[in-house]
Symmetry: C2
Subunit: 123 residues, 2 copies
């Protein structure tokens, strides 16, 4: 017997900007990688591949390819913020637990969610 996994038609996505993150954490790319990996593991996501880029000026990007879709972050040390994007095709509400755990670890002062592909507050 072969078991084949069938995705729901529309996956769960969480996209946001987390603001007011402590500078020390925001500049520690290794710590950020570790947080993401630990949280994904805790939520039983399977990491298949990942790519990272620390920009020479400032900022860090992590793209993690999951068996269940992907997680992306971009850091903006100049604004004390991180863009977070998790897409999961395991089912409704699935991304929320992971988002909440990452949020707990990063401890932002504010979270801005994208609405209709835009965050209205652009300073």
């Amino acid at each position: 017997m072969t078991m084949t996994y069938k995705s729901p038609e529309i996956g769960q996505e969480i996209s946001c900007v987390m603001k007011g993150i402590q500078k020390e954490l925001l500049l520690n790319n290794d710590k950020l990688k570790l947080i993401l990996k630990q949280v994904l593991k805790k939520n039983k996501f399977t990491i298949l591949k990942s790519i990272y880029k620390a920009f020479s000026s400032q900022g860090f990007t992590a793209l993690i390819l999951l068996a269940e879709s992907h997680l992306a972050i971009h850091t903006y040390p100049e604004y004390n913020s991180i863009y977070f994007n998790l897409y999961s095709c395991r089912g409704p509400k699935d991304a929320e637990a992971t988002f909440n755990l990452v949020k707990k670890q990063l401890n932002p002062k504010e979270v801005l969610f994208y609405k209709e592909n835009q965050i209205p507050i652009v300073s």
Copy 2:
């Protein structure tokens, strides 16, 4: 003199599901990769790294790390659809031209945008 690029505080994101894509194109991962690369190049994005995964059952994931953020797609041949996620920190409306070019190439019958992190129509 050193020129340093400063991102806007909030990047432009386009996340959607494109439905009703022709099966032949949807199953041609090399063609999909080529379309993404060509469109990104046309819009003067800089591809720094990329990872791909063709799933053994079905489906294909591409994560492309850009100097200007990232592009992610996931294909769902079982639903004739593709999830598309482009995040750019070059400025307002920046992602739209790229999205429109990709859409033109993929020619979906319908595009569902995420609103408040959810697409309300889940069949």
